[in-house]
């Protein structure tokens, strides 16, 4: 309860600080004032947006893309990471390849996804999937590589079965790293889903509404959507971080 109160207070002060900074930039900065609506206007738009039906459809469809993309990335990435780390030779060949793929800015693959998967949900989710799956594979490999040889050996000497060693020792030991992969991925997924909603011919999604506000020059709405995206990112990251901390609790001492 104390913790909740603390985070509400922090949220409150942070909001005030942000509003002050915003007003300072608006009044004393180098930009034209009508490009930066007042914080009051933005807040009003924000409340108006939240009251519309479209907002909830946008929110759900954006979250759906993020989660489906991420889920697919986990379903494919975790087993693949396990497989790659299981053999020294496979790892020697595959890991640099994955590292290289990951180094390609995912945005540069935008045309490839439009051409191959089209501009519907497949294209968007496909792009989220690729962005996340590589991170998840790499983190899974790290998790499985850092396992303690000794723990493994001791249980083996006690006659532990292969399934016990895998499910009760190796997997729990790798979970903290897998969770880190998921946390990093979810930020990525939100960036990619917003980007694709803005440019990949979407009919819904926060990114799509943001882009639409921009094209009809409704700037206070546009900033309202940016604030919403910020809140989404912040909340998602917090939820996943908490989950990650729980899972890696045993490592932290």
């Amino acid at each position: 309860m104390n913790k909740l109160l603390k985070s509400i207070l922090i949220f409150f002060f942070l909001s005030i600080l942000l509003i002050l900074i915003w007003e300072a930039i608006r009044n004393f900065g180098a930009f034209k004032k009508d490009l930066l609506p007042s914080s009051k206007e933005i807040l009003f738009s924000l409340f108006k947006i939240i009251k519309t039906n479209k907002f909830w459809i946008d929110l759900l469809s954006s979250l759906e893309r993020v989660f489906v993309g991420l889920l697919l990335a986990c379903i494919v990435g975790i087993p693949l990471g396990i497989f790659i780390s299981s053999s020294k030779y496979v790892k020697l060949v595959v890991e640099p390849a994955i590292d290289f793929l990951r180094s390609i800015p995912i945005t540069s693959l935008y045309p490839v996804f439009v051409l191959t998967l089209g501009i519907n949900n497949q294209g968007k989710i496909g792009m989220i999937f690729l962005g996340c799956v590589l991170i998840i594979i790499l983190n899974t490999i790290i998790g499985f590589e850092n396992k303690s040889k000794q723990r493994h050996l001791i249980s083996k000497l006690y006659g532990a079965s292969a399934s016990y060693i895998f499910f009760k020792i190796i997997i729990p030991e790798a979970l903290p790293n897998i969770a880190t992969g998921i946390r990093v991925s979810i930020g990525y997924a939100l960036i990619i889903s917003t980007l694709t909603e803005m440019f990949m011919g979407a009919t819904n999604g926060i990114g799509q509404s943001l882009m639409e506000s921009y094209s009809v020059y409704n700037l206070s709405n546009m900033y309202g959507y940016i604030v919403i995206l910020g809140c989404m990112g912040y909340l998602l990251n917090n939820i996943v971080s908490n989950f990650e901390n729980k899972i890696s609790e045993w490592k932290q001492r």
């Binding site: 723990r151 001791i154 006690y158 006659g159 532990a160 009760k168 045993w250």
Partner: protein, 251 residues
């Protein structure tokens, strides 16, 4: 089965690499009712010997034989964080070997609870162990070894983080379990009192000869008592060990 040579180490040499030899032509036997302690300065190869006995490195020459074809080995290590399943409960950590001996779950729970009591661990069975102190975690490893009815116990400073009262109790419990069922123990320690209380023989491992400088028979009668460490015979042995260790270190 040769009872007097349960573990038989015959003329082994162990090298780190081509140039660096750690152990040279070492031989010793451990009988099935015996506890053999190895004492030596840091870096004399004590842990390496244990590693070769649990078949993690193979000797460059010589052989290691067990009386059993595939003995159940309880291996204890001073590194408690790498020895336990930190994400699991006390009871799971202590009793998991019994799962592979087909002991039913309710029995496992009871046996585990008994061991927790015997080792004076004031822990609840379902408590996760990652927050426990090093000494408590080492005792959990020891509890697991005791519960698993091992054919052989290989211990690398298993009580290095445990306080004296708990150590003495643990040594007593080990003694009790050995009177119920014989098994050989190989025990590495830096603590001379601990070695004297637990062992039947003490091998002094020399860094220079890469072999035993001497193997001492421990005259302490069973059951072992801490007061008995004050016997003049024992004090002489103690002094001899300290002398040896100092000569190994200070030139």
């Amino acid at each position: 089965m040769n009872k007097n040579k349960y573990i038989s180490v015959q003329n082994i040499s162990l090298n780190y690499n081509e140039s660096e030899q750690i152990i040279k032509n070492l031989s010793f036997d451990v009988a099935s009712n015996e506890c053999f302690c190895i004492i030596g300065p840091n870096g004399s190869g004590k842990s390496t010997i244990l590693y070769s006995i649990i078949n993690q490195i193979s000797p460059n020459s010589g052989v290691i034989k067990f009386a059993h074809e595939r003995p159940l080995i309880a291996y204890l290590n001073q590194d408690y964080r790498q020895s336990n399943l930190l994400w699991e409960s006390t009871i799971e950590n202590i009793t998991y070997p019994l799962k592979f001996q087909n002991v039913p779950e309710s029995d496992r729970f009871e046996l585990g609870k008994n061991i927790i009591q015997e080792l004076l661990l004031e822990l609840s069975p379902n408590q996760k162990i990652f927050k426990l102190s090093g000494g408590q975690q080492q005792l959990i490893s020891l509890g697991r070894a005791l519960i698993s009815n091992p054919d052989v116990m290989i211990c690398d400073e298993p009580l290095s983080a445990v306080d004296i009262a708990h150590s003495l109790n643990a040594i007593k419990q080990l003694e009790i379990s050995r009177t119920k069922r014989e098994f050989p123990i190989l025990w590495v320690s830096h603590n001379i009192d601990e070695a004297l209380l637990v062992s039947d023989k003490i091998g002094l491992l020399s860094k220079f000869t890469k072999n035993f400088y001497k193997v001492i028979s421990n005259p302490l009668p069973y059951p072992r008592k801490i007061e008995d460490l004050a016997f003049s015979e024992i004090l002489t042995i103690k002094n001899e060990i300290i002398d040896f260790l100092q000569k190994e270190t200070i030139k």
